[in-house]
């Protein structure tokens, strides 16, 4: 039995197969409409989420399966003090696969250790969010046609932004990848990622504070939100939250085929006037999120669909 804890759980070859499957699902949704008939997905969400929970549920429903679960710790027996280990042992009796989000880092690993069904890490605090990374990779590969030979700008909260950390770790496995890290000094990429991931893999990168400086060189601009829930201090959050705002004027500086991605939800960091720009693909990205989660559920449940 296999779980998904980190985006690196899949080798590059396995990832290619998963993304191929997601593309096939996108082209032939009817072929997969009953692939999970009779199967149940449990969504165990100990902290609020809109798109991650709904996209997992949509994925299972699109596959003909059904869903059950809870959407906050208050509505689960965690409020009564139940451990993650006990919750997952119980849920294993009710469902065939589970997607779990929990505010504590490493919580999904504890769940996987006690589970008799596959566990999908749907976000464990600021640690990992692998299905977002799979979504990002599918979006880039589908719209750019490749995952190599790319210059990727990562902008915003690079310190606490787990999607950024995971995306970097996933992309360094491909050839000719360059990063431009765009952040204020306070939200720089943690040194362990700069040293252990970028330097160790000889990945070229530069760090800039001004977004305008980076835009002309980028194939991909990955915007992130400054996340209030990651700050212990309200004052720091208020100071940082509107540091970057991508608007039409800044988009003028970018290549005509640069793509703008964002894991969403967006707050102020992308002006709504950018939404109509064909390079703004963050809502398409949300759609790819469903396809890749469908592919993931099929893969973890070991279900193959014949033509």
């Amino acid at each position: 039995m296999r779980h998904l804890m980190s985006p690196l759980d899949f080798s590059v070859e396995e990832l290619d197969q998963l993304l191929d499957l997601a593309n096939d699902i996108e082209k032939n949704p009817a072929k997969y409409a009953h692939a999970c008939a009779g199967k149940k997905l449990a969504t165990l969400f100990y902290e609020p989420s809109t798109r991650t929970r709904l996209s997992h549920e949509a994925a299972m429903l699109n596959l003909g399966g059904s869903v059950l679960g809870f959407s906050s710790a208050e509505s689960s027996s965690a409020a009564k003090g139940e451990s993650v280990a006990d919750t997952i042992r119980t849920v294993s009796c009710y469902a065939d696969i589970a997607a779990m989000r929990h505010p504590k880092e490493g919580s999904t690993m504890v769940a996987a250790a006690h589970s008799s069904i596959p566990i999908i890490n749907a976000g464990d605090g600021g640690h990992q969010h692998p299905t977002q990374t799979l979504t990002d990779l599918l979006t880039i590969r589908s719209l750019k046609g490749r995952l190599d030979h790319l210059t990727i700008g990562l902008c915003g909260d690079l310190k606490f932004g787990r999607t950024v950390h995971s995306l970097i770790q996933a992309l360094v496995r491909y050839e000719n990848i360059e990063f431009v890290l765009i952040s204020p000094e306070e939200l720089r990429l943690p040194s362990y990622i700069r040293h252990d991931v970028l330097k160790r893999n000889n990945i070229p990168y530069k760090e800039v504070v001004r977004m305008e400086e980076a835009l002309p060189d980028l194939d991909i601009l990955y915007m992130t939100r400054v996340q209030k829930e990651r700050f212990f201090n309200e004052e720091d959050y208020v100071r940082m939250k509107d540091f970057y705002i991508l608007d039409k004027a800044k988009m003028e500086l970018a290549n005509k085929d640069m793509l703008v991605l964002h894991p969403l939800p967006r707050v102020n960091e992308i002006s709504v006037e950018v939404d109509d720009d064909p390079r703004a693909v963050y809502f398409k990205q949300a759609k790819y999120g469903v396809y890749v989660r469908m592919a993931l559920i099929l893969t973890l449940l070991n279900i193959s669909v014949e033509d």
Partner: protein
């Protein structure tokens, strides 16, 4: 004049941990959970040492399989471990960094699942032997030595 010496007798089977940095023996006593063992333990603090000036020594009389000493590699790999059988040193154990440390040190990351989950082992994995770096198995936070 009374000569200022302290003698601790030989042990028949067990370990002599020598060259412990002076003052650290109680930490090792705690890490090895020697308080939980029903055996004879002698702690010698501030013994004279030609090499170190002062050093601590711990003598533990117990069956050899009773204690896992691998953790000492993490605490201080300069410690010498003498293995005693029939009152003589039969060999010295070389210390290396353990690949995994379980329930000896605790993860200090307040966002880690170990901060709330009951009865969860605290496990650290050796992620960089050159830098002697350990990370929590769950949250991957680096363990910061004092």
């Amino acid at each position: 004049m009374v000569k200022n010496t302290l003698n601790i007798g030989r042990i028949s089977e067990g370990f002599v941990l020598d060259h412990i940095q002076a003052g650290k023996s109680m930490d090792i006593y705690k890490y090895l959970r020697l308080d939980k063992l029903d055996c004879c333990v002698a702690i010698i603090k501030n013994a004279r040492s030609n090499k170190m000036g002062k050093k601590d020594i711990i003598k533990i009389e117990c069956p050899l399989e009773m204690i896992d000493l691998d953790i000492l590699g993490f605490i201080d790999h300069n410690i010498t471990i003498n293995i005693i059988e029939n009152e003589t040193v039969v060999r010295k154990k070389a210390l290396t960094l353990p690949k995994e440390i379980r329930n000896v040190i605790r993860c200090k990351n307040p966002r880690c699942i170990t901060s709330i989950e009951q009865e969860l082992d605290h496990v650290f994995i050796l992620t960089d032997p050159e830098r002697e770096e350990y990370r929590c198995k769950y949250c991957e936070e680096k363990y910061q030595r004092k």
